[in-house]
Subunit: 302 residues, 2 copies
């Protein structure tokens, strides 16, 4: 199966799962109904679904190995991860944070609803992620706890939230160092990409060595992903990007582009992508799709 | 042991556990260090610790029964619950929500730090709650999953967040009905009180019937607790209350006091407290401390 067909196949599983596992609550009282309505507005805004697709691809690679005897359904984990990603976007877009009006080509959640609803819907999406894991893997409690630990650790003050805080602190000074920038990107962005591959490995019954390999690949891939984000912010237009471009330069923010220039940044992204691919060499099984996905993430236009 | 000594004994376990299980990260990079600093500012602001104490008391009752053979340490669950409670206060105090400057007699988190830090610290506290359960009960995965399900369900868009959303919607109309008000209180407040008793039951190895009894008691107790909150908002001063009083009346918000008057509201709180106590009649073991705690919650001044 070629890359594009396989990608479509994964996406065709993700979208209905998002709809089914975080359903509308039109019959609920007004408060919950509005929370789920707002959560679904952002969750179903048609993002690239890179994290769920990475999770499904890592799952498939591991579950097809000879030693995987008890693979589990990867879809609830994929939805949980996308819930955390979406919550982080909703909160990041709020006026007290990045103050963005546009996301995925549509008004951000607080523009479409209001700030209080966006705050609460973000809280609900984060909570729902953990609820999904506890609920759907409840009959495999040891697996559930492993998934929950990975996701909670990834989303914690040490990683996702700590990286975002560091990013905000960095915006107040234009002279962040390369090491500080790498810390932000490793924790704000790469940690979630790592989590995608590791959680797919877990549902695919991967052994410890495979999980460590997936984590290493995810770290390189995540760095590459964020460098490409910096490049796109400096080069793409709003229609292509689906969000406001040029914000980094306008705010004087330190990025890979401001630190190293466009060409070097592009080179660093390619280098990290190559390292992610090289990490996969240690794995048995057919890694073709994952490698092609890594390449597509490097050459993406939004 | 008399009530006051026993209460002090529980509190003497809770406070160091909060400090130890959500530690300072002064050696961490600036972002995470600030997140944990802010989280601890709110977590250690000396609240009444009603939820952790209820959890410990329910645990003790159940763990001392003849059938409890595998009780677990209740402290991580107690800390996790207090993290969720504290996160909900931090987010509720934000300008786009209740816009409060004072909490537990000190500046609210966004006044002491800033809005972005308060938003992120709230997110981190919510995440940490789930991380604590997954980490500390990882060697008892079936128990961990049960605790995680209760906490995630309680904090979800159907309960804690949905109740808060309904509360905000209700503030836009001064004619909320008694049924709408009860929905808000059951989900915004009582759900967390219920969770305290149920999670204490779970760590105390309670059977299903006992868990159901604790849940029923928690529901009545939680309603009473919120009615007392409404009464105190209408009658207490800021110094006693530790937060701004009179906000409900000033905002024209529907409360038990505005709906029923002070005396009837006080009567309803006493009635719900009596029902909570009556529910405990079904349980074996010494329920004296829990009953006295229920009574103290009814007669509290803040």
């Amino acid at each position: 199966m070629d890359f594009s067909t396989k990608l479509k196949q994964h996406l065709a599983r993700v979208e209905p799962a998002l709809d089914a596992l975080v359903p509308a609550r039109t019959d609920a009282p007004a408060g919950p109904a509005r929370i789920y309505d707002a959560s679904r507005y952002s969750l179903q805004a048609g993002g690239k679904r890179i994290r769920p697709v990475l999770l499904l691809a890592a799952h498939e690679l591991c579950a097809s190995s000879d030693t995987a005897t008890t693979a589990a359904d990867p879809l609830p984990a994929a939805v949980a991860l996308e819930c955390v990603h979406t919550y982080s976007l909703v909160h990041d877009d709020l006026p007290c944070m990045d103050d963005d009006d546009l996301r995925r080509g549509r008004p951000t959640l607080h523009k479409q609803f209001d700030e209080a609803t966006a705050l609460l819907a973000g809280d609900a999406l984060l909570t729902e992620a953990f609820a999904l894991l506890a609920r759907h893997y409840g009959d495999r409690p040891a697996l559930a706890v492993k998934l929950l630990r990975v996701l909670a650790d990834t989303a914690s003050g040490d990683h996702l939230i700590g990286g975002q805080m560091q990013d905000l602190l960095g915006e107040r000074k234009a002279d962040a160092t390369a090491a500080e920038l790498e810390f932000i990107h490793l924790n704000k962005t790469a940690a979630m990409i790592e989590a995608a591959l590791v959680m797919g490995g877990l549902t695919g019954d991967a052994d410890e060595a495979t999980l460590a390999t997936l984590r290493a690949a995810g770290r390189h891939l995540g760095l590459a992903f964020q460098i490409v984000d910096d490049v796109l912010d400096a080069t793409a237009d709003a229609a292509t990007l689906g969000k406001t471009p040029g914000k980094d330069a306008a705010s004087g923010k330190t990025t890979y582009v401001s630190l190293h220039g466009l060409d070097t940044a592009r080179g660093l992204a390619a280098e990290q992508t190559a390292k992610a691919g090289a990490a996969l060499d240690a794995l048995p099984g057919d890694t073709t799709f994952l490698r092609e996905l890594f390449a597509a993430m490097l050459s993406r236009g939004n």
